[in-house]
Subunit: 210 residues, 2 copies
């Protein structure tokens, strides 16, 4: 029964591929892309290093895949937050706050996704995903303009300002995480940090003092 044999093999391959991705993800969450060496991933995944290259053309392709999966998760969270109740300003603030808080809770992964120098393939993905965040914000800004809770403006431009402001302002606070796996700030500092980012973003959008 050659067909069933092939199906079995396909499933086993898919499982191995998933395990490689999961183990790489765990490495990145712990020590960034730089810590995710192929020998380490192979050991964690319990496969030979050669097996990794049967599933991914290169380390860079594996990283790009892990980047996409991890970032898509964050994009989905932003989409969820923007789909809740309330007017557009409330939902945008909620989404931005959640993004920042999630980043601070998982600082090593967040820093790796936002700012770690990796390689051009991951950089290409960064550009794509920043556009995905911006598109979500843009729709919410348009709704806010339509419903008169956000002043008329170029929603597309403002959405990229939001993406840039929130990402860049997290780089510094998250980057020490690379050194020791912990953000060296107190819970109060974290709240103040998130508040100050959100204030800038919402003031930028609405022109109203928060």
């Amino acid at each position: 029964m050659p067909y069933r044999e092939t199906e079995k093999m396909r499933q086993r391959k898919a499982k191995a591929r998933q395990r490689i991705i999961d183990c790489t993800y765990a490495c990145v969450a712990e020590g960034g892309f730089r810590s995710a060496r192929i020998t380490r991933i192979a050991a964690l995944s319990e496969v030979a290093t050669g097996t990794i290259y049967r599933h991914f053309e290169s380390r860079e392709d594996l990283f790009a895949e892990v980047f996409r999966r991890a970032t898509q998760r964050e994009v989905d969270k932003v989409a969820e937050a923007l789909a809740t109740e309330g007017d557009a300003t409330v939902r945008l603030e909620h989404a931005l706050r959640q993004f920042a808080e999630r980043a601070i809770r998982g600082p090593v992964m967040a820093w790796s996704l936002i700012a770690e120098p990796v390689d051009p393939k991951v950089e290409e993905e960064r550009l794509t995903y920043r556009k995905a965040y911006a598109n979500l914000f843009e729709s919410a800004i348009r709704e806010g303009i339509r419903d008169d809770c956000i002043p008329d403006q170029d929603a597309s431009q403002s959405s990229t300002c939001l993406v840039g402001a929130i990402a860049e302002s997290l780089v510094g606070p998250l980057s020490p995480a690379q050194a020791d796996g912990n953000v060296r700030i107190t819970p109060e500092d974290k709240n103040a940090l998130v508040d100050s980012i959100i204030r800038f973003c919402m003031q930028g959008l609405t022109g109203t003092r928060k």
Copy 2:
């Protein structure tokens, strides 16, 4: 006279190095880092490709050097703009506007400096220089807070919001430049684009509708 011989050689080497940098700069300004192939740079600089590797360990090191020089020029322009007359809000607006307008006037180079996926060495430089911009903005924001023209806030955080907002909001408008060497927007659109970025940034800082 071995000393004078050595001095002459040193000068000739320095000149060749400078020519390699200048030619790489010209390539990047015309078609981004991706167009700056070593064979092309060698031909333009009128040196053998091997000579390039006597001056720079790798293509990446050469790129990092060109990135530093080009970006330092922009950082200096921002510093100059922030050192002019007027209160901090006026100077910050002036600096942001000038940054955006210079980027739009040299869109290929600007896109390469801000967003082109290059390699980790250039990415490391990007992080460093973004901090340099932020430090300049931070000082101006502090002056504004001290002089009561900017509301009290975390100047360090807000400075990174400014850097992120202006850089990210230029990525989209500049990126088509990679394709054909021109930003496909009219002069009116350019003004509207710059105005909308500046509005977001200044509102973010001041909480006052512009």
